[in-house]
Subunit: 327 residues, 2 copies
Amino acid sequence: MNISVSTHFPVEVGLTAAIATVRGEDPLILVAEAARGDREAALPSGPFDPLAHRTFEIGLREWVAEQTGAPLGYVEQLYTFGDRGRQARADDREPHVVSIGYLALTRAPAETEDLASGAAFRPWYAFFPWEDWRAARPAVIDAKILPALRKWAARDPDRPNAYGLSRRERVRLLFDADNNRRDDENVLDRYQILYEAGLVEEARRDGRASPLIDEAGPLGAPMRHDHRRILATAIGRLRSKMKYRPVIFELMPEAFTLSKLQRVAEALQGRRLHTQNFRRLVEASAVVEATGDMSRATGGRPAARFRFRREVVQERPAPGLRIGARS
Amino acid sequence: MNISVSTHFPVEVGLTAAIATVRGEDPLILVAEAARGDREAALPSGPFDPLAHRTFEIGLREWVAEQTGAPLGYVEQLYTFGDRGRQARADDREPHVVSIGYLALTRAPAETEDLASGAAFRPWYAFFPWEDWRAARPAVIDAKILPALRKWAARDPDRPNAYGLSRRERVRLLFDADNNRRDDENVLDRYQILYEAGLVEEARRDGRASPLIDEAGPLGAPMRHDHRRILATAIGRLRSKMKYRPVIFELMPEAFTLSKLQRVAEALQGRRLHTQNFRRLVEASAVVEATGDMSRATGGRPAARFRFRREVVQERPAPGLRIGARS
DNA sequence: TCAAAAGTGTTATCCTTACACCCATGT
DNA sequence: ACATGGGTGTAAGGATAACACTTTTGA
């Protein structure tokens, strides 16, 4: 059996980062060139130079600091994408790029604070309007997504995907399911089905045009290359990870009220949480401790302020944020 | 902000696969050249040719089928490794290799069935003897690992790792913790701390020699490059994933008894499960259905045979195998 | 008849959910 | 005084863990 890399197929490795933060009640993502008129938003990305950097993460931190001015806290590798067609397919002689997606968290910079020119934080639900259930079930689901997906499924309802699920079942599971026990973490699957059905701008651009997109209009703001797929992966991973690792505190200031913590958790999860139980779960799980002082910023009763208890990491096997039930 | 890959740093992309199966009560992993005398075992790996294959997974399936003769079922990307030093560090002008690790599952081939020469299935606990708690707490933990790790921690007990945990705490959490509620899924962290402490052969080879390795002797069978790290990632992922996706059935025959299913679950988790509750959890969760016929292979009371119910995938949000308590 | 494996019943305990209610402040 | 947000008590329900026990076969 041949186990060594015998033949040489040089490619380039790019690192692409979904850099997330929260300001007020808005989850934000760092994008490049969103401002410059007609160009699509892009995630910051840069080449990996194996000679200069010992690991991917070191390389990533370096050019992000240089180019965007945003200091990264938590960093996590997401997935490596190598599909052809993620680059313009016109010329196959251009070097092939493999891109490694990263999730990074950073504390919200003040609105005025300067990022490198061309870089800006934008609300991530601008790219995924169907993911924000905080106010209500997003209107776009019933107005555009479900009608279009049902048409798409009807064209070949039983065709199975790689996992053996039929089109009909996938539509039901991802967008139709009892709208209660919805699976918040499947952000990627929901984006992918919209891509497959030709309902996002990226599908048109990649030559997967579908008449459906003209009826419904493209869904959400598009991004360059496959960056929206990376962002979907990042959101899903963050929604999942915060439940068993205390990553949310990378987005919080030193001290905060439980309401503020709840607002941030809701922003990331894209749904409202049950306030009373949220308090109790969080307090009971010992991930936070009272600072002793009070916040009287809200106009109601002053709230106790809390800080993250770093010690939980070595006390509990899954020291995440218990978020409890919805509503 | 510069978002395009401007400078060119060509590297090679290799795909490395941890191909797992179970035979009887042994979880096995496909290794290359394990037989040929003094050479270290290696995971099968091959180059990714971006021109020939549209996606990594297609490329992977192709050369695995060609070179090993093992048909892959479930395939999942694990992690992309790019540390310098994973290749021999002698000559920095040799092309840099980035390796994308994959987990793949395949049904156990009969012992006699032929794989490509040089390829063989070996018990994965040969590489991680401290991970198999089925018979008892592995003796190597108290005999070698804990004494050596305690010495290692004592040399600089409070030095924190990237996650803010001190050496002392890491040792306690990973190997010392009440030996009950042990975290089965942290296979990678346990391997990494042994590597850091210089207790595995790979550390010596990478120039991280430690006197500790001579006292205790190297732990587990070594693998080439960083393949044991990839295997650790694979085992951890599989142990975790089987709890919320029905991947274990990729390793089972069409029909099986609940005991047989329990044996396989135990083999993967590396611990004994509570038989009565395992039955009930599995039956209650509707991941299996009775075939109607009986198996009288064991010498005891004949057992009902079951098959996987594919429909669960669309019924339950986390259609994995409820494995319940230990013992 | 006994060992071995399969399979059932029942209870204690924990955790989550849901709902009702009280508290402290600014206006 | 009342609106607003902060904070507590408690009981119902569901799920798991632990334990005791019965059933069906082969040797």
